[in-house]
């Protein structure tokens, strides 16, 4: 289904949905930082800045309760978390690099055991993608087979037009349902020219070639060269739309508390550290190698997909300027 919506009507749509009690999550400023957060009204939405953290947290929050425990004497009472309490949510103005990561994450959270925390949110969330008009030189979506107008992962996709407003295309029943729920705000698809989209200046990687090099080079001096300067924080993994490693911890008192699942990162020394003292990835280059391998080889081996959408967040925020696009480009040139 293809339609048109004016900027004014998009705001009306958002405000109407909020008034109906729907949870709308979109980029907005939170304590001075752009983040995907619930909107109070449409005026809070910002579309010209890439949120600092990706949209994955709409499905896989930084931290969530997975159960609670209560002890009395020798007995323990567990209380389950009911996923049906997760609210129906509409994610607005999601960048293509963020939206594209969502189906990539579906693979790991739904193979074999089903993680209902992720999957129930996934079922209850409508993703409204927005074509990207603001790339910088950290962006490299075009290098990993995506583009500023890629609709992967979007239920509904907005393409901005000259003179304001958006052409809207729906790809799923959820997308159509959203249009149908307020059909009076949408008009027939417009013939107006599209706004010039972002144009990341990166050549496409040959991802097959990159993977086949990684297949053969678990041991390579490249890893030492890159990763000696890695200081071992988790910033790259935490801002990444595709990184999904997590920890499980109990927090509370002796008597009662909660078990929580929270983001973790393979860059931390503690990630693979055994209580015995043994650590299979004892040095930072081994940990950084795992990051590249997981994204461009292991995930592909396991699920047939690349675990990177080229959003460039890790490139922008790495405290020591480690640039994954430059590294993969170097591998691509080998």
């Amino acid at each position: 289904m293809r339609k048109y919506i004016s900027r004014q009507n998009l705001n009306t749509l958002i405000d109407k949905l909020i008034a109906e009690g729907r949870r709308i999550v979109a980029p907005r400023m939170t304590a001075g930082t752009p983040l995907y957060e619930p909107l109070g009204h449409s005026g809070e939405m910002i579309i010209d800045q890439l949120p600092r953290r990706s949209a994955k947290e709409a499905f896989f929050p930084l931290c969530e309760e997975i159960m609670s425990y209560e002890k009395s004497g020798q007995q323990v009472k567990l209380t389950d978390v009911d996923p049906s309490r997760f609210p129906e949510t509409i994610l607005f103005a999601v960048r293509p690099c963020d939206a594209a990561a969502i189906p990539v994450l579906d693979a790991v959270f739904s193979w074999d055991y089903k993680d209902e925390f992720f999957l129930e949110r996934r079922r209850k969330t409508t993703v409204v993608g927005l074509a990207c008009t603001t790339a910088d030189d950290a962006c490299f979506c075009t290098a990993v087979g995506l583009s500023p107008s890629d609709t992967k992962g979007s239920d509904l996709f907005l393409s901005p037009l000259e003179g304001g407003g958006y052409n809207v295309e729906s790809f799923t029943e959820k997308g159509e349902a959203l249009i149908n729920s307020c059909s009076d705000l949408f008009a027939e698809e417009s013939n107006a020219a599209y706004i010039q989209l972002a144009n990341p200046q990166t050549e496409a990687f040959d991802l097959k070639k990159v993977k086949s090099w990684l297949d053969e080079h678990f041991e390579d001096q490249l890893w030492d060269g890159i990763a000696t300067r890695c200081v071992g924080c988790g910033a790259c993994a935490f801002v990444c739309p595709a990184c999904h490693c997590f920890d499980i911890v109990d927090e509370g008192t002796e008597k009662a508390g909660k078990r929580r699942k929270n983001w973790d990162a393979c860059g931390f020394w503690k990630f693979t550290h055994h209580a015995s003292g043994h650590n299979p990835r004892d040095l930072q280059p081994k940990r950084y190698r795992n990051r590249i391998m997981h994204k461009f080889k292991y995930y592909d081996d396991k699920f047939g997909q690349t675990l990177c959408t080229g959003c460039g967040r890790c490139v922008r925020i790495c405290p020591v300027g480690i640039d994954i696009a430059a590294i993969v480009e170097e591998i691509n040139q080998k």
Partner: protein, 308 residues
């Protein structure tokens, strides 16, 4: 206030001096590596480099994007740097203060190091693209309060004339004054909102030269002093632990604040601590090695008014 450009014309000369001196000390075997800066892929971007050969030493440079405090690579938590010989390191004045602090804390030995000091007019704020020109609006706030533009006590300092420094608003001083004027409840609300953004990536810890603990309190779980999840309790506890542990030690490089992916103004905590230290103990980090920091020593002049 209008933004005024800051003269960085000396950085090209400094880059040449750093390369020449690094090549010399590497070739003459005086050092086994030089920790410095090299250009990255993105326009204007700079990244740390550990140069062990002439090829990589030839890439050394300095610019307004040379933001990192490289002293972090010398502390013992970063085990990958060779320790089999003397190490050369490129330092701005603020970085040198941190290194001097580490020597004072017996983490480093002066004789194991070859210090290349950089006369520095300032580096860029974390909020701007690395290719941005240095100006009063794009400079890192710490540089506006810098009293260490010209390092002393180094083995080598490029012979260039530092242009006069621009006068500008002191952002930290102004912000601290603003926060001090708030009620405790208002201040708490401010920090609560800031800490709520924390994602526990520990970038602030990992770049801090003084966070050299072999195992951070926050990584220990027997007992679990600080909750590990990125929630208000654990976030607040972590940032208070961090600020208190750095009081009297922090040299003001502001790396913690620069690297925070969530823009938490961490250096405000450090500056506030520094202000207290100045008032209580007349202490300021400098270029001279102190064997005992202000909180690790006692004199009868110390304020004792807390004893009631």
């Amino acid at each position: 206030m209008n933004s005024q450009l800051i003269d960085t014309s000396i950085y090209a000369d400094i880059s040449r001096f750093i390369r020449d001196e690094s090549l010399r000390i590497l070739l003459e075997g005086e050092v086994i590596a030089v920790v410095g800066y090299a250009a990255g892929r993105r326009k204007g971007s700079v990244q740390p480099i550990i140069a062990c050969d002439t090829e990589s030493a030839g890439r050394l440079m300095f610019s307004q994007a040379s933001v990192n405090n490289l002293a972090v690579y010398l502390t013992k938590a970063k085990k990958e740097i060779p320790k089999s010989g003397k190490i050369g390191i490129v330092l701005k004045g603020c970085d040198l203060k941190a290194l001097v602090g580490l020597i004072g804390e017996s983490q480093l030995k002066r004789e194991d190091l070859y210090l290349i000091g950089v006369p520095c007019s300032g580096v860029l704020a974390s909020t701007v693209h690395p290719a941005t020109e240095l100006a009063t609006e794009t400079i890192a706030p710490k540089c506006l309060e810098c009293d260490a533009h010209l390092p002393t006590g180094c083995d080598f300092v490029p012979d260039v004339a530092l242009p006069p420094q621009q006068k500008s608003d002191l952002k930290y001083a102004v912000e601290i004054a603003r926060l001090e004027a708030l009620t405790p409840a208002e201040r708490w609300a401010y920090w609560k909102e800031q800490f709520s953004k924390c994602i526990k990536c520990y970038a602030c810890r990992q770049v801090c030269p003084f966070c050299f603990c072999e195992q951070c309190l926050c990584d220990r779980n027997k007992p679990q002093m600080v909750e590990t999840t990125p929630r208000p309790a654990g976030n607040t506890a972590w940032h208070i632990v961090r600020a208190m542990h750095l009081a009297g030690r922090c040299a003001g490089c502001a790396e913690c604040e620069r690297v925070c992916p969530m823009d938490i103004p961490l250096n405000l905590l450090n500056r506030k601590m520094a202000k207290e230290l100045k008032e209580l103990f007349d202490y300021e980090p400098g270029f001279e090695v102190n064997d005992k920091g202000p909180l690790a020593s006692f004199t009868d002049k110390d304020d004792q008014s807390f004893i009631k």
